[in-house]
Assembly symmetry: D3
């Protein structure tokens, strides 16, 4: 199995309006460092999982819809909390919808929200 | 699959009294940076794998029993070497014993002992 | 010269409402990783610049006033942009006002806003 | 399951002479930070996956054949592109050929080529 | 004093053809992670040292002349060794020549060549 | 001004037997990641501050006297606390005593004891 990961980041505001989230219930924000991994059982004819330049460009496109935004006003998160896990899942779903993943075995999205906490969404294909 | 990881650290002394361990046989020490990951197939009703604050607090409780200690005198390691792998396993077992993991798919504990070496214990639930 | 640095972080929302800031003009957010450094020409009687525990606790006190906040509504930033540099300066000024720095040579505050950008405020004492 | 990872690096030149690779088609270079992970279902009699010193020495031996080299002139890459994925696979295959992996469950090799991109090769044993 | 740092990277080939450099004498390569810091005694009217977007764009312009290149064939290094220090100095000089640094106190360029070595060039203005 | 930094680490046990140090009073340990920086106003005839290989070898020599040791029994720390600052100063003094620093402007030693705390000793030459 081979994997290729590219990294980028977004800077967002959001709130998690439920007492479950304690101090994170109010409006605050985060730098999400985003690491996306594509997995394939074998390499393609160029000896890669996916071209790094193409992977980075695709990720940046998806992230452009989130970067410098208040997620409380973003339609993707209406009716649900924009937790780190949910945002990771959203990015993963957007990536899957935007590209042909035939031949790939898995896609995963990791979001680091601060040096001591991160979340990952992984889907087998 | 979703995962949530929190990170903390402990500073311990220990020895590995067997010639197998070469220079690490004598009394020395380590900063173990500890990363614990909880895995679930789906998010809970709050859109999380586990609350980051609750996860961090639980980890800190477990680590309090190790932090600033000489592991050679800690009962958990009587009769076995407190290698990085064994300490990772111990932390994982203590976490499992301290919380209800119904609904979770896996738990893993990674210990980084220096920039160029780390060990991981992972248990499927 | 000796220096001691401790690190912590805050998660804030803010806007920078001026076209100068381009996409950062609107409401967004950041995880600021905060590194504070105390400098002294010589060590004290315990062989330290400042006790790490005391330094960390002092920093956490100062940061509690910013963490999980929308800086647009924080009185410290009324009438000025809460840029990374300005927030670093604010934290430095708050630290200076909260402790006796006799015997210290300098204090600096570094804020990392994402993996590829950070700002530092340094004051000679 | 237990894992042990050691890290080292090599500094190589190479080209990827195909328009597919865009600006990387010409002669350039990379620092590859190499992380190798050995997995075992259980620890051995010393309480380790593999001795860190032995693992580091074995990795350094394998890397000595690549370090400070122009991979375009290295026989292992004749007739194929020395992409990050291919070099990871090559290191993994060389490690497997050089040691008895009875009792191990998997071996993986991660190469970080810059802060925002890395590739992994993983083989189940 | 305030400082602002932005980070980027280049991937280059080069040789250091002198026995002084041991194994680095032959053709090899490096990923240079580049951190550039601008210093000012006071912030400008927008509360910044320099706009992060503008700083990043300027750095990328300067680095485009080095990225994916063989420095042995780059005119800037004719007649001298393209050591990490020399490349840092070259980037610093190019930055100084490309922008008005009135009001700034210092400029520094750090190049990380692998996890365990880096070089810095700093010029007071 | 030019600087060159190399990095290595040691794993030590020690105690800080004074109530001032709270939980660190008892026997515990640390991984100290050690970064040593040499500064020179100009580069030498090879275009370097100091050869990276030579610098790394010199640092490793000095650290060999500390690595895998209990600092409570090391003669260098008799009668004083082996705080991070004191160990940094000790390494700096040993480096100065072991090499000719003519032409250098400064030497500094940074010890990272965990991800959130580090100390630096710097001497102007």
């Amino acid at each position: 199995m081979y994997e290729l990961t590219v990294r980028d980041h977004v800077m967002i505001a959001h709130s998690l309006p439920d007492e479950f989230f304690g101090p994170a219930a109010g409006l605050h924000g985060a730098t999400f460092v985003v690491e996306v991994t594509w997995s394939r059982p074998d390499l393609d004819e160029h000896g890669v999982v996916i071209d790094i330049g193409a992977a980075s460009a695709r990720l940046k496109e998806i992230l452009a819809d989130l970067d410098y935004r208040n997620l409380d006003e973003h339609p993707a998160f209406t009716g649900r909390f924009s937790t780190t896990e949910v945002v990771a899942g959203h990015i993963g779903d957007r990536l899957r919808a935007s590209m042909d993943l035939t031949g790939f075995a898995a896609l995963s999205v990791r979001l680091r929200e601060h040096p001591d906490a991160w979340a990952t969404y992984r889907v087998e294909l």
